[in-house]
Every structure is written in structure tokens, then in C-alpha cells.
Amino acid sequence: MAIRETSARHEALGLDEDDLRRMHYYMLLARRVDERSWILNRQGKAAFVISCQGQEGAQVGAAYNMRPGHDYLYPYYRDSGMTLLLGQTPRDQFLSLLGKREDPNSGGRQMPGHYSSRELNIVTASAPVGVQFPQAAGTALAFKMRGEDGVVLACGGEASTSGGDWHEAMNFAGIHDLPVVFLIENNVYAISTPTKLEVAGSIAKRAEGYGFPGHEVDGNDVLAVYEVAREAFERARAGEGPTLIEAKTYRMTAHSSDDDDRRYRERQEIEEWRQKDPIVRFEKYLMEHDLLDEERKEEVDTEIKAEVAEASEYAENAPFADPEDVLLGVYAEG
């Protein structure tokens, strides 16, 4: 029976009902925060939105292996599913989106989606893609040199594997057997350029050339991503070195609020991927295992929507930084 086989799946992974509910909660929370962000943009309140929609499964599945505040996360600008899971709140996200003083990432200094938290070990991302990977390797080297068991999760889209920085980081991590997990969320587009024009061969298979394992996984299957990432984290903690994961997924929105994706892709293609929406798929799985029903699903969604509405309202009413604050935070006092 198919149901029995899949039932064994989360149990075999050591995930209990509470784990599954948390995964579902954070995937849906990321989606609803994202949707609300677009509304704020269309209302003229948010200057810029960059989206996680479609990639929540890959994000929550991978980051569910992290120990917040212990392991390090180098997210890329779509990884709000990860930062929410690690402990940032919808309020934090909207404060950042609207560039408010209380924005815990940067106090209104950096674009939305570029998360930063000293407390949660989330490192601010670079807008030029791929630059985070060498830094992540350096952080992993620091863990190794100190004899600590921390793991670094370094993320990017497939587009970030085209430049030199990613390869330099892969090479460096391979040379020193560093405790780093490279997660490539292959969402099919580099803004408008499809993978066939930006990726030669297989991303996952490139790991072999650097001397460590590479796995391709269905990025819209949160449990599959969790499983492969769990193995990667265990490997890293055991001092066995890096792992590359290529999670095949899809960017369901335009690249950003400054982009019109009708110029380069068919609506039908997006519709086809909507059928594979990681949240819908996971809900189906949960329902098949009596862990969720329509009523409970509505309850969760209502709860999340209320939280998102409250957070958005709070951020909209929050003060902007004083203009004089513009000069703060450039240099550390020595």
C-alpha cells in the first residue's frame, strides 16, 4: 500500500507529528508573509520584494537540521522559510521590508531579503550572487580550527553556481574537508535566463570533481530535502567534510517586484508547477496520514493569517530610523 510506504517515510526519518506540524507551519508562514509583502508593494508601501514562493519546501527541509544560534546560516535572498524557522518573526520580516528602525537585520540599511542576525548566526547576504559561498567556507574553517562541531549551511540559487566564487568555495571546502553544506535551490531561472542557458551538465555532479558527495533531490518534497540534508549535516558534524545538495524546485513568482516575468515564460508553465507546490504536496501527505484535515488546515491558515496581519500592521505603524542614524554602523570602535 502506498500509504503504508509513505507512512514509514517520516517515521523512518525520526520525525514525529510535532515536527511535521512545525515544518508545515513554517512553510505556510513563509508563503503568507511573502504574499502579504507583494500586497504592501502594490500598495506603494514596500519599495522592493524578493520572493520565496515555491521554494519553501527546500528551505524548511534543509534548515530543519540546524541548531539555531549554534550552526551558521548563509542564506540567499529568497530564504525567508529558513530565517523564520530559525527564529526570525513575521514582524522582523515586515520591519525589514518597510525599512523601519526596528528592522533587526540592518535597521533599514540593507534591502529586504538580506537577513542578518548575530544571535541566530544568520549572515547578511550579498546582492551579487554567489559571493556568500567563500565566506561560508571560511566560517566552516573557523569551526574546524577551533574543534567545534558547528555546521554551515550555505545557500544560493542555481544562478549562483555560474560564477567563480562558488567554484572557489567548493574547491576550498573540498581541500580542507570543511563542515559546510552547499544547498543549491535550482528554481529554473536566473531572473529571465532559463537553466538550459546557464547550467552546463549537472550541478549536483560537479561535487564529485571537488571530492565530496553531491545529491540531486526533489526540492518540492520537504521530507526528501530533509532526509538528504540530514545526512549532509551528520557528515559535516562527524568531520567528514562538505556535501552539495541540488534541490530541484521552481520560482513561482517573478524574480522580484521590479521584474515582469511575462516577458520570458508562459503562464502555463507556472500553472504546471503550481500543481507541484511544495505546500500543497506536503498538506496532501499530512492528510493521507491523518495529521491534517480540511478543518485543521483552515485553523492553521487562519492563525497564520492573523499573525501576518498583526505583524504587517505593527511594521506599517513602526517608526522609520532618524535620518541622523544613517551614519551609524559603518565602523566598529577599536
Binding site: 528592522d103 533587526p104 537585520n105 540592518s106 535597521g107 540599511r109 540593507q110 538580506h114 542578518s116 542576525s117 548575530r118 549572515v123 547578511t124 550579498s126 546582492a127 551579487p128 559571493v131 556568500q132 559561498f133 567563500p134 565566506q135 561560508a136 567556507a137 571560511g138 566560517t139 566552516a140 574553517l141 573557523a142 569551526f143 580550527m145 567563480g164 566564487d165 572557489e168 568555495a169 574547491n171 576550498f172 581541500i175 551609524l328 554602523g329 559603518v330 565602523y331 566598529a332 570602535e333 577599536g334
Partner: protein
């Protein structure tokens, strides 16, 4: 005080901090067994081992990025650029990341990183090995940029650079690694943002940094011998932060200024110095501020051509003479 080469003094500064703080590590191409292509780290791998003297692949962006990641963890990497010219390959990491991480994190994160290596030319390595990047890096808030010229300064400023919680661009006078000078023993940390009066004088102020300070000192001797002119020479030492007061005080005394740089004239440090003088000492000036710069060409290889492309003693003395309204020679 003992006499030491610039190279020895530089190494001594790094060693001083490596002994003080085990989070200080060296990274770069060929810095281990090979001792660095300029022998700056010669012998250090024997003393500190490969964990603290890390040979990297030829991947400037990669190892600079790694150093940023280590620095954010509280380590203190000192990265060698084989020459600063190769830092263009790492410029996104330096300019877009090291300099901005603190600001982008709303002041949460420090990047205590030193990037060091030879800057400028003078050793026949042609254009892709010959740039003076102090104006480029000096342009970006978030970086500190220093350019020591004496052995004592290179040691003391390296100590300060390693202790600084910000990314420091440490521009060494590559052509002067073998030159000697008196170096203080022990901890001679030198504060950034303090210029040095390298020679006192009363008639004209020559302002430079790095290797051109020595050119100005020779020009000052010539001016004294041939023209009876007393030239003051100021060594900026630090490009960012910048010591305006020492320059202004000197010009208030001499009423004339010549700024000298190896880099190209346009948009250079000398232009910035001239602007500061006209802003803050305009009423004291008896002549326009003169600028002496490199020729507007990529640096050539042949010795005679290279010399023709860099500022010469004659250009400096004649600039001073113009400022003094005496005949050029």
C-alpha cells in the same frame, strides 16, 4: 632600537600579534613553505604550523571571502595579496562585503580583517603588476586604508591593523622591502589617522605617502642645496582615516604645497589633499597647490620607460619651485 629591513619589520609586526593572539592567522598564495613570493612570511610556517599559516589556491575572491567568513567568527585573518593588483579579482568581496557587512547588519557584526601586500610599482613588473590602489580603496566607507613607508611604521601599523575590528587595506611599499631603518622593539603600535612630519621645513610643504615620501625627502635635500629652500615633508601614512590637521598646520606655516602620488593624476589622493588645503587653508596660500603624479599610461616594463612614467625628483623640485615662483631647472 635596531636597524631592520622593511620586510623584517613587517614580519615582526605580524609575529608580535600572532604571539599575542592565537586567533591571528595568515592566509595567501605561496606564503607557507615558500615563505611568500616577497619572502614576507619566510619561516613562519615552521614556527606556527600550517594551521596558522595557510597556503591557499590561486583564488583571490575565494580566500578573501573565506577570510571574511573567519573574521565574522572572531578570528583575525591577515590575507596576503601577492600584489594588490590581484585584488581586483577579490574586489567584490572586499568592497561589496568586507566593507559593508557591518552596516548591512545594523552594526551587529565586526570584520577584523587585514589584507596586505605590495602596492605601487618600481620593480619592472609592467602594468598588470603596477597599480597604486589607495584612492580606489580609500573611496569606500567601511574600509581603513594605510600606506606605511618606514620600517618602524610598517611594523607599528601592522600591529594596529591586526588589532583593529574593521577591515584594513594595508598597502606596502613593495619596492622598499629591502630598505633599512630603525625599528622600535616590542609593541610600537601606531595610531591610524596620524600623519608624520618626515622632515621639518618652513618654505614649502611636500605631501606624499608610501614610496613617494622618500622621493620628497630627496627633493627636499636638493631644494635646500640648490635653491636654499627649506621644504617640509609630510608622510600621510593613513589614507582613511585621514589626518587633515597636520597638513593644514604645515601649510599655514609654509603657505605653499606640493602633493605627490605615484598613481594617476585624475581622481587621486593628491587631488583630495589639494581640495582639503583650499577648503581649510585658502587664506594662507601664496600659490596654487601643485600636483605631481604618474604619467597617464599603463605602467611600462623597460626600466627607462618605467622611470619616465613615475614621478621624478626633478618633477617634485620643479613643482616646488613653481609654488615658490623661482626658476625651474
Amino acid at each position: 632600537m635596531a636597524e631592520k629591513t622593511y620586510r623584517e619589520a613587517l614580519r615582526e609586526g605580524m609575529v608580535h600579534e600572532m604571539d599575542n593572539d592565537e586567533s591571528v592567522v595568515l592566509m595567501g598564495e605561496d606564503i607557507g613553505v615558500y615563505g611568500g613570493t616577497h619572502l614576507i612570511t619566510d619561516g613562519l610556517i615552521d614556527e606556527y604550523g600550517p594551521k596558522r599559516v595557510i597556503d591557499t589556491p590561486i583564488s583571490e575572491g575565494g580566500f578573501t571571502g573565506a577570510a571574511i567568513g573567519m573574521a565574522m567568527m572572531g578570528m583575525k585573518p591577515v590575507v596576503e595579496m601577492m600584489t594588490w593588483n590581484f585584488s581586483f579579482l577579490a574586489s567584490d568581496q572586499i568592497i561589496q562585503n568586507a566593507a559593508k557587512v557591518r552596516y548591512f547588519s545594523g552594526g551587529q557584526v565586526e570584520v577584523p580583517l587585514v589584507i596586505r601586500g605590495p602596492n605601487g610599482g618600481g620593480v619592472q613588473l609592467s602594468a598588470q603588476h603596477t597599480h597604486s590602489l589607495e584612492n580606489m580603496y580609500g573611496h569606500f566607507p567601511g574600509l581603513k586604508v594605510v600606506s606605511p613607508v618606514t620600517p618602524n611604521d610598517v611594523k607599528g601599523m601592522m600591529i594596529t591593523a591586526i588589532r583593529d575590528p574593521n577591515p584594513v587595506i594595508f598597502l606596502e611599499a613593495g619596492a622598499l622591502y629591502g630598505t633599512k631603518g630603525e625599528v622600535e622593539e616590542g609593541d610600537n603600535a601606531i595610531e591610524f589617522g596620524k600623519a608624520r612630519v618626515a622632515r621639518e621645513g618652513s618654505d614649502v610643504t611636500l605631501i606624499a605617502y608610501g614610496r613617494q615620501v622618500n622621493l620628497c625627502l630627496r627633493a627636499a635635500d636638493t631644494l635646500e642645496e640648490e635653491d636654499g629652500v627649506s621644504a617640509e615633508v609630510i608622510d600621510l601614512r593613513s589614507i582613511r582615516p585621514f589626518d587633515e590637521d597636520t597638513i593644514v598646520e604645515s601649510v599655514e606655516k609654509t603657505h605653499r604645497a606640493v602633493t605627490v602620488q605615484e598613481q594617476w593624476r585624475w581622481f587621486g589622493v593628491a587631488s583630495e589633499v589639494a581640495a582639503i588645503i583650499q577648503e581649510r587653508a585658502f587664506d594662507y596660500l601664496d600659490a596654487p597647490v601643485e600636483r605631481v603624479s604618474g604619467a597617464e599610461v599603463p605602467a611600462p616594463y623597460a626600466r627607462n620607460l618605467e622611470l619616465a612614467a613615475f614621478p621624478s625628483e626633478k618633477q617634485v623640485t620643479n613643482a616646488a619651485r613653481r609654488a615658490l615662483y623661482i626658476e625651474e631647472k
